[in-house]
């Protein structure tokens, strides 16, 4: 076992509701300075009796509860978190401090533009920076996550075709794509047509040409793709799609490989989202919030969501909604602004050279790990990768140890496992994205742990198959959870 993690004391902690004691409270309200109102007398039957589903706890109860819960999580601040296509890079503390400034954190979305000029200026500048990084012309900051960005992008593509009197019915999606791609197309009423990757793991012009016809609205492509490979035929593929009147959507999930090195807009991509929580270091927060700004070429600009920030005649900034071709509004207000502030801070901190260096190091780290692990682990698509590499459990087949087991055993070594069983075209995939945040010795320790597990799969397969062993809880029964769903605590619950 590597020295990355040692056994330690873990605390038990019940549910809030089980800790509850009648009469306790964790927040005192100020005394009222207005006449008391009898809600029931005023509102009658509109009023409810009580809130029996809420707990009663003191502040220290609550603080200990959540502090104990927090110790059960792996996190980037604790160590390597190599989830492929998620870009779990370090999140600088400055971003957090800046986002908490009251002028950002307590600003109200309905404040008139002239009273929130600092925010509008930030929006304007961030749009420009993201457009430059992506090689595109315009940007909307509204989408709250990459998937909502995809939705917006496909809607703009639909609006573009409709504005030309065309009604197209299909969207092409490579078989290596993230599940959000086909789901976003379907949510727009499109029929999804899968395009097979070639034997080398990338998309080939002939495959796209064969699937391409006048009914295809768009091709959605992730570059680098989910195998960590650069789609080297991308320019030709874009030309094929464009020649039949289609547009190309870029899934920006893997943009961390390309900052300052190549730009999707220069490849022929017409519209793309960027995941600020991946590439631009906003924290993942246990599942979100993210932010998914969408960048477009000029021909899609008439269809951007509204409102948009624009320079006003007085030299300041204003909101503009007078865009006849717009797809409409996508977010209740202006998007996940707190994330926009953090990403802007990150880009200013790194600058042009820092961004480029970030991608160079991310790609170097992925290739170094691949070099250390290849052979022991099967590499389905050999060669130089970009920011992530995909391995599989094929070389472990005779041991009976699977990718899931390897992932769970990594936990015992103190690592968050990589993304597993994705992309779907690689059976037993382990998708590893180390990011630029890791040092050489950190990568070596991680590689050592994976190699040790492969060895252990041969010498003590049962130990690997029953991992994890050093966590507070052992492997959890996901089948039971789905078969008999218990999705809330209830007072009569006796299943402890």
């Amino acid at each position: 076992m590597s020295a990355n993690a040692v056994p330690g004391l873990a605390f038990e902690e019940a549910l809030l509701f089980e800790r509850s004691r009648p009469g306790r409270r964790g927040a005192e309200l100020p005394a009222s300075d207005v006449p008391r109102v009898d809600a029931r007398a005023l509102l009658g039957g509109l009023v409810r009796d009580d809130l029996p589903g809420l707990p009663e706890l003191s502040e220290v109860d609550v603080v200990r509860h959540f502090t104990r819960l927090s110790t059960w999580n792996a996190a980037v601040d604790l160590g390597l978190y190599p989830l492929g296509s998620c870009t779990m890079k370090y999140n600088p503390k400055l971003n957090e401090r800046v986002a908490r400034l009251p002028g950002f954190a307590a600003a109200h979305p309905f404040s008139p533009a002239q009273h929130v000029q600092g925010l509008l200026a930030l929006f304007h500048e961030l749009e420009g920076l993201l457009a430059e990084i992506a090689g595109m012309d315009r940007v909307t900051l509204q989408p709250a996550a990459g998937a909502q960005g995809e939705l917006a992008g496909i809607m703009m593509i639909r609006a573009y075709h409709e504005a030309r009197g065309e009604k197209r019915s299909k969207v092409l999606v490579p078989d290596s794509a993230h599940g959000t791609n086909p789901a976003s197309a379907a949510l727009n009423g499109y029929q999804v047509v899968s395009v097979a990757s070639g034997p080398d793991g990338i998309l080939h012009p002939e495959a796209v040409a064969a699937a391409m016809d006048a009914q295809v609205a768009a091709l959605m492509v992730t570059n680098p793709n989910t195998l960590g490979l650069f789609e080297r035929h991308i320019a030709e593929i874009c030309e094929i799609v464009h020649a039949r009147g289609g547009l190309v959507y870029g899934d920006g999930a893997n943009l961390n490989a390309l900052l300052g090195i190549a730009r999707p807009g220069d490849m022929g991509i017409d519209v793309m989202h960027m995941n600020l929580h991946k590439t631009f270091s906003t924290p993942h927060g246990g599942g979100g919030p993210g932010a998914g700004p969408v960048a477009v070429k000029q021909m899609l600009a008439p269809h951007l969501p509204v409102p948009l920030v624009a320079r006003s005649r007085s030299g300041g900034f204003e909101w503009r909604s007078d865009l006849p071709g717009t797809i409409g509004r996508l977010h209740g207000q202006h998007g996940n602004v707190g994330m926009l502030v953090r990403a802007y801070t990150y880009i200013l901190s790194l600058g042009a050279e820092g961004l480029r260096r970030c991608s160079e190091m991310a790609v170097l780290n992925a290739n170094y790990l691949l070099a250390r692990l290849a052979g022991t682990f099967h590499v389905p698509y050999p060669g130089t990768v970009m920011h992530e590499c995909v391995l599989s459990d094929r070389n472990l087949a005779e041991t009976g140890v699977t990718t899931l087991d390897v992932a769970k055993r990594l936990i015992d070594h103190g690592y968050h496992p990589p993304t597993i069983y994705f992309p779907l075209i690689v059976p037993g995939a382990l998708m590893i994205e180390p990011t630029e945040s890791e040092s050489l010795e950190g990568l070596d320790r991680f590689a050592d742990a994976l190699l040790a597990i492969a060895e252990e799969a041969r010498s003590e397969p049962e130990t690997v198959r029953s991992a994890p062993h050093r966590t507070r809880l052992r492997r959890l029964d996901e089948t039971l959870a789905a078969r008999k769903p218990v999705l809330r605590w209830q007072p009569d619950d006796s299943s402890r």
Partner: protein
């Protein structure tokens, strides 16, 4: 670095990018300013922040779906723990139990507040949650028409229109009655209506008759979707689920989430267990580990895009995890009695403000329906001018309704949370009246 390169079989970093055709490589540096020190970047951002008015600077009566409430110190202290902030989606349950248990606790509390059986692990915001609720109702009923009350937040309505545009669905609007509540629903509904979407309280603050709306919707086989923009109202008003709502969705920003210029906030979606399979978004469920000890996992993911792809219930692939955690901590701190008392305090402040309006010449209460912590004040002159006048005295005295409800004449939407002192209410109302004279 040379050692690492050597291991990869390359001499220069440049070679790692050989797969990118030369014509596609950026031959110049990005036009992004040179990197700056932490101090310089902080000072630049602090300068931008200082150019924005905000709810901590003075009396604040602006709501309209985004509410200024007091944030207990423990919320940010706990949510700032890096184990919560810098983790991701809890796919690996054994090392994500902190996030998973917190989500389960949130789901439990939101079920209690909404009066329904199941809640997901959050949506982007109230607007997209409402759109997803309508899509869910269309899947459940296999119908294509959505009836929307005029009292739905105008931005929620716009987002709903955006989401429905590609699906051949039609939208009909249920008009507003003269007292602020929705007109009887029956006329807007027929046997192709998937759902009636009603906001409680409405955008203009009116408390709707949910039972009547539920009866009308159910009479023609439609679902009742209740949108909630001010989640604190759930602590005072009867649970929508208890009054017949089939889906309760909306915005829980009021539960300890900063205003942050409108996001990130906390969309939620609750439903009946019979419709569980059509629910979008992540769900956390209870299970046991190999030794039979209780634990939590993401579950029923066969509904989701990463498994079901184009046949998924939604394309959503994140949740508002950290905002959900803020709300869970907030509800735990306030608790069963504190949250109710807070809601009553909000109501009392609003009733006091209404009483002041009634005593003030030049101001009116155009809508007679009962309200919670937000209501409409009619003015004699343009609301924009009145609000600027109040701002010049350091008070943000509400939302100008001219773009949203021009038929009401000059008026503002006035919101009083626990932060509003009696004295500041008096001053704000005097300022709103002053401009009219």
């Amino acid at each position: 670095m040379q050692r690492m390169l050597a291991r990869t079989g390359h001499a220069r970093v440049d070679e790692l990018f050989a797969a990118i055709p030369a014509a596609l490589r950026l031959a110049r540096a990005l036009k992004v300013p040179e990197g700056r020190s932490e101090q310089e970047v902080f000072q630049h951002l602090a300068t931008l922040a200082a150019q924005n008015e905000h709810a901590q600077a003075g009396p604040w009566f602006l709501g309209g779906g985004s509410y200024a409430h007091f944030l207990p110190s423990a919320v940010d202290a706990l949510v700032s723990r890096a184990e919560f902030t810098t983790s991701y989606t809890p796919y690996q349950a054994e090392i994500s139990q902190g996030t998973l248990q917190a989500v389960f606790e949130w789901q439990s509390m939101l079920c209690a507040l909404s009066g329904l059986d199941v809640t997901n692990a959050s949506m982007y915001d109230g607007a997209s949650a409402t759109a997803e609720a309508a899509l869910m109702a269309m899947r459940v009923t296999r119908r294509r028409k959505v009836a929307v009350a005029a009292g739905l937040h105008p931005h929620y309505r716009q987002v709903l229109e955006t989401y429905l545009a590609g699906l051949g669905a039609s939208l009909v609007t249920l008009s507003r009655g003269s007292d602020g509540r929705s007109a009887p629903a029956a006329d807007a509904l027929d046997d192709d209506t998937a759902c009636l979407v009603l906001q409680q309280p409405s955008f203009l603050g009116s408390i709707e008759d949910l039972r009547a709306a539920a009866d009308a919707a159910h009479a023609c086989g439609a679902l009742l979707v209740v949108g909630v923009a001010e989640a604190l109202s759930l602590a005072l008003l009867e649970a929508p689920g208890a009054l017949g709502a089939d889906i309760v969705c909306g915005e829980a920003q009021s539960f300890g989430v900063p205003l942050a210029f409108g996001g990130p906030h906390l969309g939620f979606l609750a439903a009946r267990s019979a419709q569980l399979r059509q629910l979008p978004g992540r769900l956390v469920g209870q299970t046991v580990d190999a030794d039979g000890r209780r634990g939590f996992v993401l579950t029923l993911s066969a509904r989701e895009q990463h498994i079901r792809r184009e046949r998924a219930t939604s394309n959503i692939c994140t949740n508002q995890g950290l905002c959900l955690l803020m709300a869970t901590v907030y509800l735990a701190l306030l608790g069963r009695r504190g949250l109710r008392e807070l809601a009553e305090l909000n109501l009392a402040k609003a009733e006091y403000a209404k009483s002041r309006v009634r005593q003030t010449r030049g101001l009116t209460l155009p809508l007679a329906a009962p309200s919670f912590n937000e209501f409409v004040i009619g003015l004699e002159g343009p609301a924009g001018r009145a609000l600027e006048r109040a701002r010049s005295k350091g008070i943000v005295a509400g939302l100008d309704l001219a773009p949203f409800a021009p038929e009401l004449g000059p008026c503002v939407l006035f919101c009083t949370t626990e932060l509003a002192s009696r004295e500041s209410i008096d001053r704000a109302i005097a300022l709103l009246a002053g401009v009219a004279s």
